[in-house]
Amino acid sequence: MKSIRIIDSTLRDGMHAVSHQFTPEQMAMIAGKLDEAGVDTVEVGHGDGLGGSSFQYGFSKATEEQYLKAVSEALTKTKLAVLLIPGIGTVEDLEVAMEYGVKTVRVATHVTEADAGEQHIKFAKKSGLEAIGFLMMSHMAPPEKVLEQAKLFESYGADTVYITDSAGAMLPHDVRARIGLVSKELSVPIGFHAHNNLGLAVGNTLTAIEAGAASVDGTVCGLGAGSGNSQLEALIAVLNKGGYNTGADLYKLMDLSKEVEGLMHRPQTINSDSLAIGYAGAYGSFLLHSRRAAEKFGVDAREILLELGRRKTVGGQEDMIIDVAIELAKAKSSK
């Protein structure tokens, strides 16, 4: 029976869905139950990773240290991971995280910019951490380019390389082409991180595994940016039926999902705005920021998102939303 590693991102990507407002106590409760359910790794922090708490992305309820302390005390077997986006977080931030027992760091760059993560991967390896290269917005580059960038991460010493569908814009054949090529050419394990904007998250994750992925992400209740991630309970049910071993207990995760439901700010659905993100290929966390800008400047959030996709914006460019909203408002008033 093939084993698949599960990385839960409820407490990191899921933070986008609650505007980064989980409390350390809520995180500790969820992390403790994920540990009990046998999930391999949990990723914790602001939705935009270390250093993400900001005007640009929204301030989180508590500090990184508070979250990491609370979660690390709740874990017994499950590994603790953080996300670091070079340009937002730094090695200094990672050093602080290491004091709280972080064992894994995912270094996330845009799919064409892996070299911006060289210093962080190398630092992590030198410090005895597990380092994962994480290529965001992978739908924007053809498979050969994704391979070139994945090889860069491998050359810096990454233990695993992730192909990430940050916009939830990939169809199964896009996933198969990228994961198939990269897992054939690299010697390290390949991972896949899905978003559900087109309703394909669990299906795409299964496709990724069939194409060679050995590590996949999920979140309880599907909590995450845009329409959310691959819903962990559903994913584990699918993988159980498919004959894969994940080490995770389905019923315990189902029980946890009922508790997480009570903490959600809104149902995690595919609505017209998040669907527009998947359709346009825009970054998932633009969703709530675009809704606020749409309201402030009197324009349609979908139009903002489609325009952001046309302009080939990348992850983290939340400030472009303002520009686009102002321009759309001007165009509207001159009509």
Partner: protein, 293 residues
């Protein structure tokens, strides 16, 4: 009396060094006499030779031996500059440091030029993001105290060379420090984003300042005045979104188009730091001529 041109050298004949060369050659008060590198036959050294400028492939040693120099622009990297700085000081050569080494004080021409030039023998040009955003924070801080400044600099991938990419942490840290020390903010954060879109995007900077937003009318005026000051040396510097109040913060967006000297126009990020460096050197020449130091 006509002002004697100060004799200048450039260390580091890469993209920045070549762009500096083209700008210095237009200067009325600076004369470029030496281009120093370490790789013979590099593009920058070739271009310097073709323009009749002396070159050396012996790096800093070649500069010190050349003698009779007033100013050196260092466009290498942070580690090399740490070695160069004491040697330049010993030789009595004023150093304009374009690396993140920050041996000397930060200098942003529109904000703190003269106060540093009169005392320092080595000045640091911060980062491109710092040159673009510190003036705005400083302008707002003149109106009302800035409790926290946060900037997001978005650069086209093509304009971010290996130096920026391998030192991305130093970029964010140096920019943050300058927002506090020169901009006047009590606390600060800097974010950098690389965007690979084709055609390449202009350098774009969003500046969030936490302050008394009731003073927005005065803030707008101060920011417009400051923008004109920066435009005197970086004409492609433009207020893209005029300051507006949003909750407890003021949001401002500036865009920087380059002069297109050597680097393409979308490299406004590189242009604003080379323009600022030449402006600093020219001011140094003027102050020296006037006997102010």
């Amino acid at each position: 009396m006509e002002q004697r041109k100060l004799r200048a050298a450039i260390i580091g004949p890469g993209n920045i060094g070549i762009d500096l060369m083209m700008k210095i050659r237009r200067s009325k008060v600076l004369e470029l006499v030496l281009m120093a590198g370490i790789v013979s036959g590099s593009q920058g050294l070739k271009m310097a030779e073709e323009s009749g400028i002396a070159t050396t492939t012996r790096g800093i040693d070649g500069v010190i031996e050349f003698g009779d120099l007033d100013i050196a622009f260092d466009a290498t990297g942070a580690n090399p500059h740490m070695k160069h700085a004491p040697l330049l000081k010993q030789a009595g050569i004023f150093a304009v440091d374009l690396t993140p080494a920050a041996v000397g004080p930060y200098i942003v021409p529109a904000v703190n030029m003269d106060s540093q030039l009169l005392t320092a023998h080595n000045v640091n040009m911060v980062t491109c993001g710092g040159q673009a955003t510190v003036p705005i924070v400083n302008a707002i801080n003149q109106v009302t105290p800035v409790e926290y400044a946060e900037i997001v600099a978005t650069l086209s991938s093509l304009s971010a060379g290996p130096g920026t990419r391998q030192n991305i942490d130093e970029f964010t840290q140096t920019t943050r420090n300058a927002l506090i020390k020169v901009g006047g903010a009590q606390d600060a954060k800097a974010i950098i984003i690389l965007n690979p879109a084709d055609p390449p995007i202009m350098m774009r900077n969003t500046i969030y300042t936490k302050c008394d937003t009731a003073k927005i009318a005065d803030i707008i005026k101060a920011v417009e005045d400051m923008t004109r000051k920066v435009q005197q040396y970086a004409p492609g510097y433009k207020l893209k979104v005029s300051p507006y109040a949003d909750g407890d913060k003021v949001v401002t967006v500036v865009e920087v188009e380059g002069a297109g000297d050597y680097l393409p126009k979308y490299s406004g990020n590189l242009d604003i730091i080379t323009s600022a460096a030449v402006t600093v050197a020219e001011r140094y020449a003027k102050l020296k001529h006037e006997g102010a130091m």
